[in-house]
């Protein structure tokens, strides 16, 4: 056999030598195929394989039966979210689905002034006064953007932008 350069992918795979064969384990695939075709079957082996196949089937069925439907609630109409801050309590965070470049209206009802941090790149800061303030927000990149209250340090909203 002549000397082959290790960087001869086709030759290496064909001859089962060299760097590509080491990486792709040609011999392994050959022997795997041969073992599948020439599997010796005794009764014991057959029973074991049947048991394994049944276990696989049952587990598969359980998994698909238990699969949940994840329903993403789509808001119809203009996109608007209301956040209420009262007595230093932040609202419990919700996740809101939004389109890329779609404008969302954040209606902030608060008894004190404060600001919201929006974790986009770069981070945005939206200030609000006491009372009811309407802030407009647009996000240009897909992802899950967290909006948190600067004063309380808690997440108040998650925007799932896709």
């Amino acid at each position: 056999m002549g000397h082959r350069s290790p960087f001869d992918p086709v030759g290496g795979i064909v001859n089962g030598r060299g760097l590509p064969a080491a990486l792709f384990h040609v011999g392994f695939w050959q022997r795997w195929g041969a073992s599948v075709l020439a599997a010796r079957t005794t009764r014991g082996t057959n029973v074991r394989r049947a048991v394994l196949a049944m276990t696989a089937l049952v587990t598969l069925l359980c998994l698909t039966a238990c699969g949940e439907d994840a329903s993403q609630a789509e808001e119809s109409g203009p996109a608007s979210v209301t956040l209420t801050f009262e007595d230093g309590q932040a609202p419990a965070p919700e996740r809101f689905a939004l389109g890329v470049g779609e404008e969302v209206e954040l209606v902030v009802k608060s008894d004190t002034e404060g600001s919201l941090h929006v974790h986009t790149t770069p981070e945005q800061e939206l200030d609000y006064a006491a009372g009811t303030t309407t802030l407009m927000l647009t996000i240009d990149e897909p992802g899950v953007v967290e909006v948190e209250s600067h004063e309380l340090g808690t997440t108040v909203l998650q925007l799932e932008v896709s």
């Binding site: 760097l19 080491a22 696989a56 899950v144 004063e151």
Partner: protein
């Protein structure tokens, strides 16, 4: 920031979108099918022999890598990076634009995985603590390999497991992880602990005690590079994985690596955020407990999956978890890749442009200060989601094959097939759990 602790990312902007449900279910089903296929149709005698696997690397490559100047150049590179990080950490500004955070959390931690899988155990080659230990030893005329004592074998990888837990705790739980003071402190304590260990036990301490070196070495077991009697080899990642050295604490290391990545996905989910923000206990305590629970849970599932089998008198049951721990590493690497790929590309690129200005003076040392942001995978969510599922499933395939081969070596003949089922279910639990976390994030 107020008294209540924030759970949002410190570095990087938006988080990844959750996986579409069809993709997650398809991934779970694929994992099941792969596992049972591997079990029922694959080989019956162990294939990987560490004394014979692999082929010698090309001569020019072996010459290059074994050349003394190459080793010295890598050490100089490591020390230069270390010096840069020290200068930026000590004299730089305490702002998010300081490149130290990106280098520490992204290039160093996340970047260690692809670097090791592609190039082998990189941390060992560039580790600044090894270099400092060697220099100090040379200056004082002693042998850097030997310390005052011999490293106690029963400690195994436990120091590295503790170090890794300390790192992930700081990254995922500690609320001030993007402030310069805590990062400096962590690095100083790490340096002190490593140099002390090196002085006490010699440089052999680093193979088991340096968290980054152990992490890098375990990931490098999935590369194609190996060594036997000093010669550089090329061998299949599966054969390489089989040569992982088993020592006490390996299960803990794997548990921390997988558990921390799983917790990172979990803590971004809305139910957890709601629970923590409405609970009376501090977020700090709850997050620490949850992180510990995830790491311990992974270790427990691995232990249960490996010991729930019949054994003979030759293999004590207590040794089995350590013998199978290496087969969970592909799942770790696959899940790490799925979770951090977009983060690595986005924040890593940002760090490249921040690196030109370490002291916040407006300098442009490397000409990268005005790099345009990368049009990354975030703008292609379907591609990103498919890549994530592919990475997780690939990790599962390699893991299933590796554990199958190890079972053939350690389990007695009559338990070889049925004894693998608990481990198979443990791996399915990891993979399906991982996909669920990516779906529910």
């Amino acid at each position: 920031m107020g008294d209540r602790l924030t759970l949002a990312h410190g570095l990087g902007g938006p988080a990844d979108l959750p996986l579409p449900p069809e993709l997650a279910v398809a991934g779970g089903v694929a994992a099941l099918v792969v596992s049972f296929t591997v079990l029922s149709v694959s080989w019956r005698a162990p294939r990987f022999d560490e004394h014979r696997s692999g082929r010698p690397a090309p001569a020019w490559l072996a010459r290059l890598v074994d050349a003394p100047w190459f080793a010295v150049a890598l050490r100089v590179l490591g020390m230069a990076l270390f010096g840069y990080v020290v200068v930026a950490a000590v004299f730089g500004q305490d702002l998010l634009t300081n490149p130290v955070f990106g280098i520490f959390y992204v290039w160093g931690w996340v970047g260690l995985v692809p670097a090791s899988v592609l190039l082998g155990p990189v941390w060992r080659a560039i580790s600044p603590v090894r270099t400092i230990n060697t220099l100090v030893a040379r200056l004082t005329g002693s042998d850097p390999e030997r310390g005052v004592y011999a490293y106690p074998e029963r400690w195994g990888y436990w120091p590295a497991a503790l170090g890794l837990f300390a790192f992930v705790w700081m990254e995922l739980v500690y609320p001030y992880f993007t402030e310069l003071g805590p990062v400096r402190l962590w690095m100083a304590v790490y340096l002190a602990a490593m140099l002390l260990g090196g002085a006490l036990f010699g440089s052999s301490f680093y193979r088991r005690g340096d968290p980054f070196e152990v992490f890098s070495e375990l990931c490098a077991k999935l590369s194609v590079w190996g060594r036997r009697e000093g010669a550089l080899l090329v061998r299949s990642p599966l054969a390489n994985l089989d040569t992982t050295r088993v020592a006490p604490g390996l299960v803990a290391v794997v548990g921390v690596l997988l558990g921390s990545t799983a917790f990172d996905s979990f803590r971004e989910s809305l139910p957890w955020i709601r629970f923590v923000q409405s609970a009376d206990q501090s977020a700090f305590l709850l997050d620490t407990l949850a992180l510990t629970a995830f790491c311990a849970g992974v270790a427990l599932i691995l232990t249960a999956g490996s010991i729930a089998t019949g054994v003979d008198t030759e293999t004590p049951r207590g040794r089995l978890p350590g013998l199978f721990a290496h087969s969970v590493m592909p799942i770790v690497v696959g899940y790490f890749g799925a979770h951090y790929l977009n983060y690595f590309l986005d924040v890593g690129w940002q760090t490249l442009s921040q690196a030109s200005d370490p002291l916040g003076t407006g300098a442009d040392l490397f000409g990268t200060a005005d790099l345009a942001p990368l049009t990354s995978l975030s703008s292609q969510p379907t591609l990103l989601a498919s890549t994530k599922v592919a990475a997780v499933i690939l990790g599962h395939v390699v893991a299933a094959v590796a554990s199958h081969d190890r079972a053939l070596t350690v389990l007695p003949a009559r338990h070889q097939l049925t004894g693998q089922l608990p481990m198979l279910f443990a791996m399915i639990a990891f993979t399906v759990g991982g996909l669920y976390l990516l779906f529910a994030a």
